[in-house]
């Protein structure tokens, strides 16, 4: 008779294998970084050979790709989109703007550090990161999923109050549905 823990481990390995080879990406193209997504997906760099493909809606997506700066207005939409995605879900912060504000470091209406508001699994730095860098970021996410370390969604669930506090600090008119898993 097999040990429950061991059988769960085998199931996890199989499921993680499927997850890392089939990433449906919802590219939230608010900033200028969205222009690097078409070359990543099309003939020259062909991200589909890694199993990465675009998803049309948040319900079908696994990865939320936040390309570039986020204004306080779009942050609300991004949070809404993130909460509509189904578990397990991952966030990739794309470009320097999601790390420390980048060239918008002193702007009055963009957020500087994305990780305060949403749990980011992988950052891709650069302004702009080239398609090679984007694919390298996806490969990094794949290795994190393989090791079982891409636990952003769990982090968000556990620290929801803290994230909500940060989010409500920059979004004054908070009219949002409750996060239900």
């Amino acid at each position: 008779m097999m040990n429950d823990k061991n059988s769960q481990k085998i199931v996890d390995i199989i499921q993680n294998y499927a997850r890392l080879h089939s990433l449906f990406v919802l590219a939230y193209g608010t900033g200028c970084g969205a222009i690097e997504i078409p070359p990543t997906m099309t003939s020259r760099y062909d991200a589909e050979r890694f199993g990465i493909r675009g998803a049309a809606t948040p319900r079908q997506a696994d990865v939320l790709l936040i390309t570039g700066y986020l204004t306080t207005k779009t942050l609300k939409r991004v949070i809404r989109v993130y909460e509509q995605m189904q578990d397990p879900k991952y966030v990739i912060g794309f470009g320097s703007c999601t790390i420390n504000g980048g060239m918008y470091w002193d702007s009055y209406n963009t957020i500087k550090v994305l990780d305060k508001y949403l749990p980011v699994d992988v950052y891709i730095n650069g302004c702009m990161p080239r398609p090679e860098a984007v694919i390298a970021g996806f490969v990094k996410l794949q290795s994190l999923i393989r090791e079982g370390k891409a636990e952003g969604a769990k982090l968000y669930k556990d620290n929801l109050e803290q994230y909500r506090e940060n989010q409500k600090k920059v979004i004054p008119n908070w009219v949002m549905p409750e996060y239900n898993w």
Binding site: D46, R49, G51, G54, T57, R59, Q60, Q86, D87
Partner: protein, 303 residues
């Protein structure tokens, strides 16, 4: 072995075969699309990985009971119509609930799945889904007419409404129906372009326009159910075409070659075509396909 157990076992084997073949064809179509666009493309088994990922999603939200029923309807229709299709000519092993008049029954059954999906999409309340459903139903009005006319022509010509009857007529006369009633074949193939929903007739899903249409609110296991029933349904349609027009198949290799040859028609036509608008698609089906449908019926009545 008990005959009923034998039949149940045959049905399960048929479903597994249809699932595997359908999924592999979808993966091959992604690979061929990639090669045409000068890309490497995903591996052939990519769709199985997608399916496994979708089924191992931890959560799947739903907006009501009808959204759960929609994919189930589609699955039931796909498997139900699979049960009426003779997979191989001798039909020894694979399940076949054949009866006199099953072609007419199949015409009804094949429409039922999209209707169930339409009900499921209506519950989600997503406007993209509603638009996708109305587009799908208008497109169905388009391609069903030449498709039914082609089948009616076959029924008149060979005086039978059973698929097995038509297959026996082919083996008795020694020629495939594609040669003995060519106009029906042309009408049916043109209708098939709409049935498979590749571009230019991908107005239902319409990526980048409708955000995948009726399946917009479905993730996780709902999407898995739709994906797998879609591939089973693709196998059903391809096997039906092979049975009706290409004389069926004596073994599995022959079946795979013939079905893939048929499958290449909508796929390769889609690769070089941009998307139609809804009224353009309906007008397309009521043009030449309808003409060939009329021609097929006249040919059947006169000869």
């Amino acid at each position: 072995m008990e005959p009923i157990l034998y039949k149940v076992f045959g049905a399960v084997v048929t479903i597994i075969l249809a699932f595997v073949v359908g999924m592999t064809y979808m993966g091959l179509s992604r690979k061929i699309t990639a090669r045409v666009q000068n890309r490497v493309g995903p591996p052939v088994y990519q769709n199985f990985l997608d399916a496994l990922k979708l089924i191992s999603k931890k959560t799947a939200i739903h907006h009501g009971i009808m959204q759960m029923m929609g994919p189930a309807f589609f699955m039931v229709t796909s498997i139900g119509s699979l049960m009426f299709i003779p997979v191989l000519n001798d039909g020894r092993f694979f399940s076949n609930l054949n009866f006199e008049g099953d072609l007419v029954f199949l015409l009804y059954l094949m429409v039922f799945g999209p209707l169930g999906m339409a009900l499921g999409a209506g519950q989600t309340g997503n406007p993209n889904s509603a638009i996708g459903v109305t587009r799908g139903l208008s497109q169905m009005v388009g391609f069903e007419i030449p498709w039914v006319m082609a089948l009616v022509a076959l029924m008149i010509q060979y005086d039978t409404t059973s698929i097995v009857g038509l297959m026996e007529a082919q083996s008795a006369s020694g020629t495939w129906l594609v040669f003995s009633s060519p106009f029906a074949f042309i009408a049916a193939v043109l209708a098939m372009l709409g049935m498979f929903r590749y571009s230019p007739f991908d107005i239902v899903g319409a990526p980048t326009e409708l955000a995948s249409g009726p399946v917009a609110e479905n993730g996780g296991k709902y999407l898995f159910t739709m994906m797998s029933s879609n591939s089973i349904f693709a196998f059903v349609k391809l096997t039906l075409y092979v049975d009706l027009f290409l004389g069926g198949a004596d073994n599995l290799i022959e079946l795979l070659i013939k079905t893939f040859a048929i499958y290449l028609i909508p796929m390769l036509y889609g690769l070089v075509s941009p998307r139609y608008r809804t009224e353009q698609a309906v007008r397309y089906f009521w043009g030449w396909p309808l003409f060939f449908g009329f021609l097929a019926i006249m040919y059947a009545v006169v000869f």
